[in-house]
């Protein structure tokens, strides 16, 4: 099925099951510990345990590696290094970093800290770890480049973020009545999912089965097959439950490749989890950025010049942190200049993390808007309203937004939050020791759709089974897909069983970029549509007239039980949703507004968020419970990135030094107060038959800026070097 025209009315519009607030159907399995994550599958034979030893230098080569002691250690079965690792090839997946990241132990060169230098397999995890500590490695260190700020002059225009220039920005900026010209920096950050990267690999003859923690099943299947030089058809990937990915599980790493290679050599299953301190430097992270935002406006706030430059870095061959992205679309203005420069750094691979681009780009753009509003003496909500635009500002009215309720989100949020009651000047309001401030920011995230397929099977007895490679990384895919299928076939939710994350099922969108719910639902929709046609035909009805309700298919007053149509063998349909060029014709994005109240301690400069509201317009909200959870998570991450999340680079040694969850701070419960989410009614006809758009990342895109703006409103200090830690507030108070 191809989605290439605005969606006509369809069975989802009944909203009998879809849009209802069901809690997760797999919830009981998870809270009772029965949902197996990658590392937890039972195996027919005793597994062996792998342990990855990471390089102790950032850049150079291994000159000697002595595994004698490790090999003689109790329980050790195999030690792999670059000297005995079987030949591999490069993989390719849609993530360019994967090419270089796939082959493991492929040579003595060290490209980044904690890159795997050895892999020990033993009868127990403890034996493998103890033996790894006995490996002696000598290195030759060569100088590397670890400091983004030192490379800004050598940055190149990246292929994935080409310059976009409209009109004459420089002149318009020079002539503008009011301008801001501000530089922001955001640090390297770690996705830090709760579940570490983990794999169990098992061979049966030439057939490889991998249970692994990955967001997109067919990417890891293809990538692993290419890396290991085996046909894709011989590789089965299972990823039925995933404990968060946040982008880092769009790639696969040493646990997957080395477990698979070792399992083949040993003829026994190998299970490996990356231990926590390895994850920060061995796997991917979000790259740091330096961003310069220049805005030029009329005295009434109308923007004429919009400029955003981003400097970022990565290992050679990696893609960029697209921090300018939102600036192309969020506000009007006829002169625009948006540029990214990427340099080569010898830090670990930068890759997708929680709203790549917008999460950090919005910190800059929305901070700059706040400063412009202050300069103009305008309400920051009003400044945003005045620059709302209903078409892609680069392409003009010929490319309208498919739906855009930014203004409604700002107005609704302002009212619900009590924005009118905000302090008008910094340090104006105090509650005990705390200066109180309010901040606002828009929310924006490009809507992405991906082809996705599914099989639906009407079982004897009349229940339905859905099978798709789609993953559930904690977002609620199981529940939402069951709702879509139940709606389409006129069943109750508990009559639908959903099976996910197995490469034996039809290829699906996977989870990432907030495309998952909408895209995978569209795949299930397509399969259900086909099944409906088959069933109507079987019942002898005109499929156009058939109505599915209450476990029956109806034509007028006539009906047939689905169980009857299922017969003894059941009826099955498989289909795939693909897309035409509606994303070209229409700019598609989710919009919203974030409102935040913070306290800044007048003595210590500590910042605490007191309350926050996000108003979200993201098409049809397929399930308000799971969508709300997505937003709450996004808001929490946004607060974290504003106030605490940072990987600290040692600029001599070339690593992220705070590589554990003790020192890499994410918010804890005590940091997160009452959060509230309001969804605006919206149906997006151009995005899919579900009329839905991505939700999760809207929660994060902008919320950090609202925090930063509130910190200024409370304290009078603008911190543009994220995260906003108390030392930076104290420096601003300058006493």
């Amino acid at each position: 099925m191809k989605f290439e025209q605005a969606s006509p009315p369809n069975p989802i519009d009944q909203e009998r099951v879809v849009t209802r607030p069901f809690t997760r159907i797999e919830g009981p399995l998870k809270v009772s510990g029965q949902a197996p994550y990658a590392y937890e599958y039972g195996l027919p034979e005793a597994p062996t345990y792998g342990f990855v030893l990471g390089a102790g230098i950032a850049h150079g080569r291994v000159t000697r590696i002595d595994t004698t002691q490790a090999e003689a250690a109790p329980g050790v079965l195999l030690v792999l290094t670059h000297e005995n690792m079987p030949a591999q090839a490069r993989s390719d997946t849609p993530v360019p970093q994967q090419r270089e990241a796939s082959p493991q132990l492929s040579g003595p060169e060290i490209r980044h800290y904690h890159q795997a230098v050895a892999f020990v397999v033993a009868e127990t995890f403890e034996q493998a770890r103890a033996a790894a500590n006995l490996i002696e490695v000598e290195y030759e260190v060569t100088p590397g480049q670890f400091t983004l700020a030192d490379t800004v002059d050598s940055g190149k225009e990246p292929k994935d973020a080409v310059d976009s220039v409209v009109g004459d920005f420089e002149s318009a900026f020079a002539d503008a009545a009011a301008t801001v010209d501000l530089t922001f920096t955001t640090p390297d950050q770690s996705q830090a999912p709760m579940e570490p990267h983990a794999t169990i690999a098992q061979w049966d003859g030439d057939q490889l089965t991998v249970h692994t923690a990955h967001q997109v099943v067919h990417w890891v299947r293809r990538g692993l097959a290419l890396t290991l030089n085996v046909p894709q058809k011989d590789v089965r990937v299972v990823a039925a439950f995933i404990g968060g990915g946040f982008g880092t599980k769009l790639l696969f790493f040493s646990d997957a490749v080395l477990s698979a290679a070792a399992a083949r050599l040993l003829g026994r299953p190998v299970k490996t989890t990356l231990h926590r301190p390895l994850i920060f430097n061995n796997t991917s992270h979000r790259a740091a950025t330096i961003q310069r935002v220049r805005l030029g406006a009329d005295p009434d706030g109308t923007l004429h010049a919009v400029g955003h430059d981003t400097w970022t870095g990565n290992l050679p061959g990696g893609d960029s942190e697209p921090a300018c992205e939102q600036t192309k679309y969020l506000y009007g203005g006829e002169h625009r200049q948006i540029r990214t420069r990427q340099s080569e750094l010898d830090l670990p691979p930068g890759a997708s993390m929680r709203a790549p681009g917008e999460a950090v780009g919005m910190l800059a753009l929305e901070g700059a808007m706040d400063e412009l509003a202050e300069k103009l003496g305008l309400d920051p909500v009003e400044l945003r309203l005045r620059n709302d635009v209903q078409f892609d500002p680069e392409k003009g009215p010929k490319r309208p937004f498919s739906s855009r309720r930014l203004a409604a989100a700002l107005r609704t949020g302002a009212k619900a939050f009590g924005w009118d009651d905000r302090p008008r000047a910094p340090r104006e309001r105090q509650d005990g020791e705390w200066y109180v401030g309010y901040g606002v920011a828009s929310a924006f995230r490009t809507n992405l759709v991906m082809p996705s397929g599914a099989t639906v099977r009407l079982n004897p007895g009349g229940t339905l089974t859905v099978e798709t490679q789609m993953t559930d990384i904690g977002t609620g895919s199981y529940t939402v897909l069951a709702q879509v299928a139940a709606e389409m076939l006129g069943l109750d939710l508990n009559q639908v069983e959903v099976k996910l994350g197995d490469s034996d099922f039809p290829q699906a969108s996977g989870s990432g970029g907030s495309w998952g719910a909408n895209s995978s639902s569209a795949g299930v929709y397509a399969a259900c549509d086909e099944l409906r046609r088959d069933l109507a035909q079987k019942a002898g009805y005109q499929s156009a007239n058939a109505v599915f309700r209450g476990g029956k298919v109806w034509q007028g007053a006539e009906c047939t039980e689905l169980s009857e149509l299922a017969g003894k063998g059941g009826v099955e349909a498989t289909a795939r949703m693909t897309y035409g060029d509606l994303t070209e014709q229409f700019m598609q994005a989710g919009f919203g507004a974030h409102f935040v109240e913070v306290g800044v301690n007048a003595h210590t400069g500590e910042v605490r968020v007191r309350r926050a509201l996000s108003v979200v317009a993201a098409g049809r909200i397929l399930n308000p419970v799971t969508a709300r959870s997505q937003c709450l998570g996004g808001m929490t991450m946004g607060i974290g990135s504003a106030l605490m999340e940072a990987l600290h680079v040692d600029h001599d040694l070339g690593l992220f030094v705070n590589h554990d969850l003790g020192e890499y701070h994410v918010p804890v419960h005590a940091d997160i107060p009452d959060l509230d989410v309001l969804f605006l009614d919206e149906l997006d006809d151009q995005s899919s038959p579900l009329r839905a758009k991505g939700v999760g990342e809207l929660g994060i895109s902008g919320v950090g800026a609202a925090v930063a703006n509130a910190v200024y409103n409370a304290s009078g200090v603008r911190v543009r070097d994220f995260p906003i830690t108390l030392d930076k507030i104290l420096a601003g108070w300058d006493d």
Binding site: P277, T604, D650, V657, G662, A670, D735
Partner: protein, 323 residues
């Protein structure tokens, strides 16, 4: 974690004797030691488990003070009625640290001996004189934002991470120990903790096998007891700075955490406070207590932050005294 042998001691004396040999460590709650063993930072060849020794009582001393057995958990100590009533700074300090689960396992003796939280100490690939003497100190020119500003040396600038110990210092608590030869000692905290000088791997004056048997609190001194911990997130983080204070009219006792290799208290500074004019007291105390501080560029903010935090604590004491 390397292979080790394990024995469980039945009496304090037996424990001390069993632990005298090189490479032996006591294990109590294990919340710090096991983490460090897993990361190959501590490599004991032998563990002596002291967790079942009969050192888990809190008892009144004849002079009206309190004796706390070395194995009293952080949770039990914080919740003890006499601690809450007479030594509230200790309760407040303990509950500002770690998490409920960890405090349930963590012991009084283990807490005093928890090791540095410097990130370089935590990675065996990196230079660190404390972990691997003679390899250098990577923090000196690297990440030092959280580290100490006073009492440090060119060999090590790590701070002592304990919250509990800061309160014990302000209470003038002493540490009781038992040596393998059966002799008992009583040490003030300043006698117990060493400064790093050029041997940062030696953190206390304990001798091989010497067991902490308990901590003694002198008779209550009254006053308003406060503990204020300033950190990068609202919970579950070590102190950037902390202030333990007992305020009684014009007299204060103040110890500082997160800023020195041991809980930092300078009695002279408390006299300076008493002698200064009302509006210059906090500054007088800080100026004296942090005379000679040697912060790095990254952690220079700690000295003004200490000043501000002390003022906040004194303001709070004023309010609590009124209420």
């Amino acid at each position: 974690m390397r292979a080790f042998s394990y024995t469980r001691a039945d009496t304090p004396q037996a424990a001390a004797q069993a632990a005298e040999a090189t490479g032996t460590k006591f294990i109590a709650g294990g919340t710090n030691l096991l983490d460090l063993m897993k990361l190959d930072i501590e490599q004991p060849s032998r563990l002596v488990d002291v967790s079942r020794l009969n050192l888990r009582d809190v008892t009144d001393t004849p002079d009206g003070g309190l004796h706390v057995g070395a194995l009293v958990t952080n949770t039990d100590l914080a919740n003890h009625p006499r601690v809450k009533a007479d030594y509230a700074v200790l309760t407040r300090a303990i509950v500002a640290g770690a998490s409920g689960q960890i405090r349930n396992k963590a012991t009084t003796g283990g807490n005093l001996l928890q090791r540095a939280r410097c990130p370089y100490f935590y990675d065996t690939n990196l230079p660190c004189n404390k972990r691997d003497p003679g390899t250098g100190c990577a923090a000196l020119r690297g990440l030092s934002r959280t580290l100490a500003v006073i009492g440090t040396s060119d060999a090590c600038i790590a701070q002592h991470p304990s919250d509990m110990a800061v309160a014990l210092r302000v209470l003038d608590a002493t540490v009781s120990t038992l040596k393998p030869d059966g002799t008992a000692r009583t040490l003030t905290l300043d006698e117990f903790y060493r400064l790093p000088e050029d041997t940062p791997h030696l953190e206390t004056t304990l001798e091989p096998g010497e067991l902490i048997t308990g901590v003694t609190l002198p008779p209550p001194v009254g006053g308003t007891h406060l503990y204020r911990k300033v950190r990068d997130r609202a919970s579950y983080a070590f102190a950037l700075v902390s202030v333990a204070a007992i305020v009684d009219g014009d007299r204060v006792r103040v110890a500082f955490g997160g800023v020195a290799p041991r809980p930092w208290r300078v009695p002279d500074a408390e006299d300076a406070y008493a002698q200064a004019k009302a509006d210059g007291r906090a500054d007088a105390l800080i100026d004296r207590a942090f005379e000679g501080a040697r912060p790095t560029e990254e952690n220079a903010f700690k000295v003004p932050l200490l000043r501000r935090t002390l003022k906040a604590v004194l303001a709070q004491a004023g309010q609590e005294a009124q209420a």
